[in-house]
Symmetry: C2
Subunit: 243 residues, 2 copies
DNA sequence: GAGTGGTCTAGACCACTTA
DNA sequence: AAGTGGTCTAGACCACTCC
């Protein structure tokens, strides 16, 4: 009995072989789709779904009539890959440790919130769970995450969760699945308290990412703003044209 | 003879109908895939490719077992949508006019370049065409674009091109097609000359986007850095999870 | 159980590149 | 002419939601 591949495991296996350098030739050229179909014993559709994912994320590029090639991209040290990005950057990245050094939680009405989601309005007395988390990367101040959760959806948030991954917490403890996120990236000036955390002066800048997070069902579950130390943070993105 | 749809025209038509509000019901729910297949007389594959594009760009979201729904997103005023983004943001956006108010071109060796592409090194005497463009949005200083082109690939760049769209120029005049771009987003402090253009003080911040642009064939053709006025620039991105 | 989106197969033809 | 990726069809079964 031969191994059955689905698209996810197929994608993972191709990535593994690319990294182990056992798939492409010395010019970075992959075997043709027909050969890969035969090798993995999958249909054209399944194979192309897998290659499409790699292509979208910048691992490979494909040229009609010529073949598929590996795209050697940058060293991703200290850069946040948007394609891998979770909730509000809750992924522990290769060999790096992100820790929450302090966190605050309180309940506030909409009228006291200083930023709001892109496409939705609330009544002034709508309550939100406000969470502020100060986080370090390799023991160095790295980001401040300022979030508002809809209490009707998430309920109470435990103290332990605030020091771990909110994304995992919502999924495992609350059974909530985030389906998509709108992101707004800006550069803003720091207030005194955030600047102090980064050992910067007031009004020094910060790279900020505003997220509106929606459940799989399309309901807004949280909106947040993350302030990164501008000296360390780089967002990486790969853009495919001609689609 | 019925109209034949390909995926692009199908996608465009669905977008058009969504905008005209003649496709979804009052709850924002689209007809089922089977119904749309019948309506457009296309296969499941073609239809799902089209819906997949809309879904990826945040126009709709799909829920297994329930249906497809419109996602009303934000007001995109003054925000740069990464999914629509061209070369270095050369698209004239809805009703807004971007103009180049001054531009400089010179030839420099690699050794005099102050930033470099993510994954490639050049010898110190490799020459580049350096272009600096100062651009306004609605007659207000908006961005400075600092680019380096490989002369072996692009050849000479005409004066007119420098005041128009570099993307169109490469494509129409030089027959070069950009296939993909690596992007690195940061927040940086402005030097005096750039700050002056934005009517800001030296060391005020800027939202920057570094691009490495590759031809369809995988060859690096240019790398650039765009400095945006941090007060006006917002990058928008839609992220689909669970793929 | 009926209807929805998600996954996958087998096969065809087209557009492009290379020789 | 042969080989490559790009597009598209027809059909099947699965997982999930709703009644």
């Amino acid at each position: 009995m031969q191994k059955q591949w689905d698209i996810d495991s197929l994608t993972a296996d191709i990535v593994k072989r690319i990294k182990k350098q056992t798939l492409a030739d010395k010019n970075g050229k992959l075997p043709s789709e027909r050969k890969l179909m035969a090798y993995y014993n999958v249909s054209r559709y399944a194979l192309r779904q897998a290659l499409g994912k790699l292509s979208k994320n910048g691992y490979i590029y494909q040229i009609q009539g010529r073949g598929s090639y590996i795209h050697e991209h940058h060293d991703q040290t200290n850069s946040i890959n948007q394609s891998d990005l979770g909730f509000t950057e809750d992924l522990a990245r290769e060999g790096k440790s992100i820790q929450t050094v302090s966190a605050f939680q309180r309940i506030v009405p909409f009228s006291e919130i200083d930023f709001s989601p892109g496409n939705q309005q609330f009544s002034d007395d709508q309550l939100f769970v406000e969470i502020e988390r100060f986080r370090t990367l390799e023991n160095k101040p790295y980001l401040v995450e300022h979030s508002y959760y809809l209490p009707e959806i998430v309920g109470e948030i435990s103290e332990e969760a605030m020091y771990g991954s909110m994304f995992d917490y919502l999924s495992k403890e609350k059974g909530l699945t985030v389906g998509f996120i709108d992101k707004f990236i800006r550069c803003e000036l720091l207030t005194e308290s955030y600047a102090t955390f980064f050992h910067l002066e007031t009004n020094m800048p910060s790279l900020t990412v505003r997220d509106d997070s929606y459940l799989r069902e399309g309901e807004l579950v949280a909106f947040s703003k993350v302030y990164y130390d501008y000296r360390d943070a780089t967002l990486f993105m790969h853009k495919k044209l001609l689609e």
